[in-house]
Symmetry: C2
Subunit: 237 residues, 2 copies
DNA sequence: CCGCACGTTCCGTCCAGCGAAACGTCCGGC
DNA sequence: GCCGGACGTTTCGCTGGACGGAACGTGCGG
């Protein structure tokens, strides 16, 4: 695991020496461990180094939570995408972050740093705020305790303001974000709930801040999220 | 790895005892190993057992091959989906199988057994035949050597017939499948190539055998595959 | 009340993983 | 051409931690 987590997004492939350096694992040990991992196709040896392999991809897709959610969500996300042609996200909460589970990149939208399997802080993203608003209070406390760092001039960094914002989101059932995580980008999000009291995921539409009509899109996002919630309830009941 | 691969698709969660039984690993050993894996969020302990966790999902998404391919392919798949509303697949070759990397399930289409991260034999699927036709001859030999088992009455099980079919596919640039893997289902597929001589992936459209107009859809699939090929060449050049 | 299967803990044995050292190879610099 | 450095690979003796049999607590069904 130490070896595998040494791979960061963007590392296409690493050399044995680089892996040994990053992990602190002596070269012969790393060599042996990687040879074993290669037998399982978790890593693949290429001419110029070592890269994460297809076996890992296959295993990751077996994670039941993400899989069930993705399959149930696919039609709703497709509808949203077709109606708007903007970037559509599906995310789940994890600790103080959100993890993206699905992404349909919009045609004319901005290049967004999000990535399936990638993380973003919850407090400054649409999906994050939607899930914070409809999540357990402890999670909000943890997020505040972890610290709200200013990512753009419009990031909300005051815990009080964040709480107000979450209250508004609870009223409306929709969260918005205007250049709080990246300049020039805005987003509308709505929480997804299964039978339980808390949000288990969130759906969002993201686009250029000056062109995305969040008021107009809010009902669509909310409808998709409610539809997915209904399917999840039916599935677990 | 032995523990992780004991999870099969469909296993939402397994008990410790069940895992020990499947793997042959004694219960205390499995218990200890799982505790360690849980620290990395590779598995999660639930009230009623153990399930694969989000850490595994995140790691799997770092596999560079699948990731780059998916990101490059997303717009083309979205276009195909929007134009047809049928199920769209993106797959890569692995050994004698194909592994699905992306799937957009069609609205009115049949429930298809395919799954992102799932496998199917190459010889009886559209994407598989497309990649066999434009892949190294050794791969075809391996597929034939592994045996062609009859999955439906229309499965091609004679190596000679398969070779003929592949020749036709090479001419047309498009592969079709009519109820060769599952009764009632048909599919059109086209190979994706990067700079190299062989296909690195394939795109397909799948639907009801009696309703899918493969002749009409073939140009669309081929165009999408060629477009993706061009993007891949540009990316690697 | 008992029996069974489950998850968990304990602890002595023992061997497999460890990693320093050494080796073969391929570069780029001088 | 020669050398220094970095890379991947192999060897091998030591040892520390993984291993798993045994035992324990618990909850369920008969």
């Amino acid at each position: 695991m130490t070896l595998l987590t040494a791979f960061r997004p963007g590392d296409a492939e690493l050399t044995l020496a680089e892996l040994a350096r990053r992990t602190g694992i002596p070269k012969p040990t790393a060599h042996r461990l990687l040879a074993e991992l290669a037998l399982w196709n978790v890593v693949e040896r290429t001419s110029g180094g070592i890269r994460l392999g297809m076996g890992l991809f296959e295993l990751g897709q077996l994670a039941p939570l993400q899989r069930g959610l993705r399959e149930a969500a696919a039609p709703f996300l497709a509808d949203l995408f077709e109606a708007t042609h903007e970037t559509v996200h599906l995310a789940v909460p994890d600790g103080v972050d959100v993890v993206y589970v699905q992404k349909l990149p919009g045609r004319h939208g901005p290049r967004i740093g999000s990535r399936v399997g990638g993380r973003m802080p919850a407090y400054c993203t649409g999906v994050g705020k939607a899930m914070l608003a409809f999540g357990p209070p402890e999670r909000l406390a943890a997020v505040v305790a972890a610290g709200l760092t200013r990512r753009t001039p419009r990031t909300v960094v005051a815990p009080g303001l964040l709480a107000d914002e979450l209250a508004r989101i609870r009223e409306r059932g929709v969260a918005e974000e205007h250049e709080e995580s990246s300049v020039g980008i805005a987003c509308v999000a709505a929480p997804v709930r299964d039978g339980g009291p808390h949000a288990v995921a969130a759906i969002s539409i993201t686009g250029w801040a000056n062109r995305l009509d969040t008021a107009r899109l809010a009902p669509a996002v909310r409808t998709a999220a409610l539809g997915l919630s209904r399917v999840l309830r039916a599935g677990t009941a």
